[in-house]
């Protein structure tokens, strides 16, 4: 089946995305179903290739130009693992959207979501730095549009801020790539990695700094993440879920791939450690005083990203394994939180604490799902957040970062305060009388059920994930195998 290649994970969604406006003429809902089916296809393709790539990385050559000359896809364990995560989360969110969005913007919605997932998949699969930039741009521009899709004040304002900061990111990325191209004359990631030491050290440093900030903005690192809470609050809940589960992961992938595989600059990796801890502390403290639950979740999401950055910054294989595990858990947990709050907020008419008072008594199932996910985010056993947090902190302990561990745990206590406050507001306040109980559409509940099973299941049986995590972590840590697989004869086509 030589035609069945991972490139379909990019090509099919792109094709369908452009087809969606036309499908709208056939049936009003056709676009949405096309989106879901495409994402399902993506997911299945991802899982089809996952075990194969774990054994041997795949190099997909486009248009017959062999690397380092042509654009190629570099499908290594880390990238296919994330591609699976991204398409799965995308699929679940799309299921939620099938019944959620009843406005006339649903074609745009479907198209943009496909583009975001496609762009993110592209980022993790590509083996070419300029290609990566292009996919990042596709993702970002679709994200701006998605943020502002509701055409209300909050959404538009957040969209503008996102655009402003995002443009800085693109500029810096482009500059950094230009500097590298100027020095090495190549855009292939493996080729750059191979010859990175040949660069003029000063130029190399400047290029890495530019790319560090550029990717830092995409991966929501403090202090470059100030736009993010606005976006999480302003965007519709499923979009916020998509951002925290999909786009951030792509940004983080770009950061990790560049710093570990391409540049291998230990200074910048250490810098991630500092920025990670700062991100955790600042975000958790800021979340403490939020009155809007969606915004609070946004800050909390930043806090989790901080933990991931911290883990990446430790720079050992164990820590990387924990970090990649936390990628998965954060995606699952935050998607659950945003989706359940989305449902509750729609029923209650708003997402502030005031609106959500006593909502748990009205909708015990959805609020219960929120509660389980909140316990997971706080890292209570036996849920999934606990396992990855423990792995990360254990890796940190092995490298003697005791002070940083204490700071992160202190921030976790604060996290406990605001999550338990929400739970208490939801479940302990008297049942609101102004809300009439309506059943939620079943299709919106399906993703929540799947996600809750994932939260508990991953927590209890994390051992089944470990081989994949180990493979992905090894892929990040051993840059020479990556280079060999992509440039040499070692890596094959299909």
């Amino acid at each position: 089946m030589s035609w069945f290649s991972p490139i379909l994970m990019i090509a099919v969604p792109l094709f369908i995305a452009f087809l969606i406006p036309l499908l709208g003429y056939i049936h009003k809902k056709a676009g949405l179903y096309a989106m879901s089916l495409t994402l399902l296809f993506n997911m299945l393709t991802g899982f089809y290739f996952l075990p194969k790539v774990m054994v041997k990385p795949i190099r997909v050559i486009v248009a017959g130009y062999k690397p380092p000359f042509g654009i190629n896809l570099a499908i290594t364990p880390f990238s296919i693992f994330l591609a699976c995560l991204i398409s799965t989360m995308g699929f679940l969110v799309s299921l939620y959207l099938l019944k959620d969005n009843t406005t006339e913007t649903q074609e745009k919605f479907a198209m943009l979501i496909l583009l975001v997932v496609m762009g993110s998949t592209g980022i993790v699969l590509t083996g070419d730095i300029f290609n990566m930039f292009v996919f990042l741009e596709i993702t970002s521009i679709s994200s701006y549009a998605l943020t502002a899709i509701k055409k209300d004040r909050k959404g538009s304002e957040a969209g503008i801020k996102f655009l402003l900061v995002g443009s800085i990111s693109s500029t810096l990325l482009l500059l950094g790539i230009a500097l590298i191209y100027n020095q090495l004359g190549t855009l292939n990631l493996a080729d750059i990695a191979n010859r990175f030491s040949q660069m003029n050290p000063k130029v190399a440093f400047l290029a890495v700094s530019f790319l560090f900030i550029g990717f830092g903005i995409e991966s929501e690192m403090f202090p470059l993440n100030a736009w993010a809470p606005d976006v999480y609050q302003g965007a519709p809940a499923p979009v916020a879920a998509l951002f925290s589960a999909v786009t951030v992961k792509a940004g983080l992938y770009a950061m990790v791939r560049f710093l570990f595989t391409v540049a291998a600059k230990s200074v910048f990796i250490k810098l991630l450690l500092v920025f990670g801890v700062l991100t955790v502390i600042v975000s958790e403290l800021s979340a403490l005083r939020q009155n809007d639950v969606k915004r609070m979740l946004g800050y909390s999401s930043l806090g989790q990203i901080g933990v991931i950055l911290f883990a990446v910054g430790i720079g050992t294989a164990d820590a990387m394994q924990g970090a990649i595990f936390h990628f998965v858990n954060h995606a699952v947990l935050k998607a659950t939180l945003f989706l359940s709050v989305g449902l509750l907020a729609k029923a209650a008419g708003g997402s502030t604490m005031e609106d959500l008072k006593g909502i748990g008594k009205k909708y015990p199932f959805v609020a219960g799902v929120f509660g389980i996910a909140a316990l997971g985010v706080m890292g209570f056993p036996p849920l999934n957040g606990f396992v990855s947090k423990m792995l990360i902190l254990m890796a940190a302990a092995k490298t003697e970062h005791i002070v940083l561990i204490m700071l992160i745990l202190a921030a976790s206590v604060i996290e406990g305060v605001y999550y338990f406050r929400v739970l208490q507001v939801m479940f302990k306040e008297p049942e609101p009388t102004r809300i009439e109980k309506k059943a939620f559409p079943v299709l919106s509940l399906v993703p929540l059920v799947v996600l809750v099973f994932a939260i508990i299941g991953i927590g209890l049986f994390s051992g089944y994930l470990m081989p994949y995590l180990k493979g992905a972590a090894m892929d990040v840590m051993n840059r020479s195998t990556y280079i060999a697989a992509m440039l040499g004869s070692n890596g094959g086509a299909l």
């Binding site: 503008i160 801020k161 402003l164 900061v165 800085i168 810096l172 000063k202 440093f205 400047l206 700094s209 530019f210 560090f212 900030i213 830092g216 903005i217 202090p223 470059l224 100030a226 736009w227 809470p229 810098l271 600042v282 403290l285 800021s286 403490l288 005083r289 939020q290 164990d318 394994q321 209570f380 056993p381 036996p382 606990f386 396992v387 792995l391 254990m394 302990a397 092995k398 003697e400 005791i402 561990i405 204490m406 745990l409 976790s412 206590v413 604060i414 406990g416 305060v417 338990f420 406050r421 208490q424 479940f427 302990k428 209890l460 049986f461 994390s462 051992g463 089944y464 470990m466 995590l469």
Partner: protein
């Protein structure tokens, strides 16, 4: 054979199943809980008491955790039995009291999970599983605390912040020793700690101690306890104060006696032949008991009085254990058992009284003795135990503690403890007088019925236990000796039969004591029945007043006023007016202030500033790293 790991799973699975099955068939909740209680009791008792067994259990957890290991030895069995029996009694209480409440479903879910996690704590043989179950206990008990709370926001948040912070202090220490040992197994960790430099050992010990002292509600980390004990669901409070607090005791013993070793700590620095850390904690314990006792006396809420009393009693245990002598630990374990029995008995009875009357303050109760004779007897037994008086069990345990203080020449600690135990008489008296004696505060109190029959199942065995342990104080000795031996100490007692309890400084024969007192009691009883005619039945308003007639609203019950005079005693009054809570509130305010400032300055909503951040960060990186 069904190992400890499976025993843990029984209540947890039963709880989850009860929740879902209970949605269909309501009585399934009680049925499954009962089944789980019986299974747990059977399995726990069937496990050989002092045999060292270990199991390892793999949940397919990541390699870094290894597999979770579980096991049992004498200390574990000792606490497991305590947990299993409390689980049994509290389950019966809940059957009667929770059935009409709207949280009927969630109560059995969380209650069973708590019971399972307590068993998990004692059966775990590595730090990771210990922590997992510790955290499970924290979150599941949180829901039971706020379930029926009047002020869930404050109570719940204080509870969770202190307990999570304590757990994280412990976790930090865990990581510290993990970094040195490369493993989480208790024995490997112990070996690694023996090789650690002194300052690190001290650091680790203090962090662990914080975690356990929070659970034992020792001052100044006790702030969460009065509210949480008072406001938690009534039928659960006995478990909460009687058994959950004992997990702190267990962890403390486990860590200080087996993992670090008191000898090791003593080698670092010692005061009066006691490790400095232990000495400081001993004083914390005794100070806790003094202050908490005074606080208990002035309370008007019944459960809050018991809450403070619980804090005070656990303070004795803390003091006794932290001396690190065989006798001290034996005394601590003995008192742990007695305190669990007494607090279960008292809280269960009070829960029944509140259930029947709907009132939870001394000022609203009174004169229930004729309506609730069994509960009166239960409280009477309980307070005799609390006061540490013969002939009941509380005497023996306190006696061992006093002896351990005497033997280690800590006379000031002993004096302070006697001050607190004497003051405890006051709250004991207030407890029984305020509820059962004096005048009824309202007419409807004369209509109430005895507590539900399910509660008798708990009350009667607990009363019997107090009596039996008073009569046969040597009964527990072999078990305590085995538990103490499991911690690596020599025998503390030299009793040979079950009638006497004797140790280094002397002994007493409980059987004689109870017989003598019993004879005196019977003589007095006969004397009163013969020479004093039976009192006349009066209406509650048949009372002499100076020139005014009391109405139904006039407060006639003065039992609740007991303790008001404490405010006028110079030092005590001052201590009652000061609360450590203020300090924590100030601290929380500061954190909130920082949070607000951060939120407003950093995330001020101005997109241009956000762009500036990016540029400034770039500049900073280039400036600092570019050289």
């Amino acid at each position: 054979m069904i190992g400890p790991n499976n025993v843990i799973l029984i209540p947890i699975l039963a709880g989850i199943l009860a929740y879902f099955l209970g949605k269909v068939v309501k009585p399934a909740r009680e049925g499954l809980t009962l089944g789980s209680v019986i299974a747990v009791c059977y399995l726990v008792f069937r496990m050989p008491f002092d045999k060292v067994i270990s199991y390892s259990y793999s949940f397919k957890l990541p390699y870094a955790f290894g597999s979770l290991s579980f096991g049992t030895n004498a200390l574990t069995s000792f606490f497991a039995i305590l947990i299993a029996l409390s689980y049994l009694f509290i389950a019966f209480t809940a059957f009667a009291l929770v059935k009409d409440k709207d949280y009927h479903d969630t109560f059995y879910l969380f209650f069973n999970i708590v019971a399972g996690s307590l068993l998990g704590i004692v059966y775990s043989r590595d730090l990771m599983s210990f922590f997992i179950f510790w955290e499970m206990m924290t979150w599941s008990s949180y829901f039971l605390v706020i379930m029926n709370a009047k002020n869930p926001r404050k109570t719940g948040l204080t509870y969770i912040v202190f307990n999570v912070a304590g757990a994280y202090a412990m976790l930090t220490a865990m990581f510290f020793v993990y970094a040195a040992a490369g493993s989480m197994q208790f024995d490997k960790v112990a070996t690694a700690i023996a090789l650690m430099p002194n300052t690190k050992v001290l650091f680790v010990s203090i962090l662990f101690a914080i975690g356990f002292l929070v659970k034992m509600a020792t001052m100044p980390l006790h702030v969460w306890a009065p509210d949480a004990y008072t406001e938690s669901e009534d039928s659960f409070t006995g478990f909460f104060s009687g058994t959950l607090s004992k997990m702190g005791v267990y962890g403390f013993l486990l860590f200080f006696a087996t993992i670090v070793g008191f000898a090791n700590l003593k080698g670092i620095s010692s005061i009066k032949d006691t490790p400095t850390v232990g000495y400081v904690i001993a004083w914390l314990g005794v100070i806790t008991s003094i202050f908490a006792t005074f606080r208990a006396i002035v309370q008007d809420e019944v459960k809050r009085l018991l809450a403070y009393s619980s804090i005070a009693q656990v303070g004795y245990i803390v003091t006794a254990m932290s001396l690190g002598t065989a006798l001290g630990i034996a005394g601590g374990l003995y008192h742990a058992v007695m305190h669990t029995i007494m607090k279960l008995l008292l809280f269960i009875t009070v829960a029944g009284v509140i259930y029947r009357t709907g009132k939870d303050r001394f000022s609203e109760l009174g004169a229930l003795i004729t309506r609730m004779p069994l509960s009166f007897l239960a409280v009477l037994f309980g307070i005799i135990g609390l006061a540490g008086m013969p002939p009941f069990g509380g005497f023996a345990s306190k006696w061992v503690i006093y002896m351990s203080l005497l033997k280690s020449h800590n006379y000031f600690l002993l004096v302070a403890m006697i001050v607190s135990s004497t003051a405890a008489f006051l709250y004991c008296y207030k407890l029984i007088y305020g509820i059962f004696l004096g005048h009824p505060s309202s007419p409807d109190l004369m209509e109430v019925k005895e507590v539900p029959a399910f509660l008798w199942v708990a009350q009667v065995p607990l009363m019997l236990a107090l009596m039996v342990f008073g009569m046969l104080p040597g009964l527990l000795v072999p078990y305590i000796s085995k538990a103490v031996a499991a911690l690596g100490f020599n025998a503390a007692f030299n009793s040979t039969n079950m009638y006497t309890l004797s140790a280094a400084l002397g002994g007493f024969n409980g059987f004689t004591v109870i017989n003598v007192l019993g004879v005196i009691f019977v003589v007095v009883l006969i004397w009163y029945t013969l020479f004093f005619p039976k009192s006349k039945k009066l209406h509650r308003l048949d009372i002499y007043y100076a020139a005014e007639t009391p109405t139904e609203e006039t407060p006639l019950h003065y039992g609740y006023g007991i303790g008001a005079e404490l405010h006028r005693i110079p030092w005590v009054g001052a201590s009652l007016r000061r609360h450590i809570t203020t300090f924590y509130e100030k601290f929380a305010e500061q954190v909130n202030g920082i949070a607000s400032v951060l939120k407003d300055i950093l995330f001020n909503g101005d997109g241009q500033i956000y762009m500036l951040y990016a540029v400034l960060t770039l500049v900073a990186i280039i400036m600092f790293l570019g050289r």
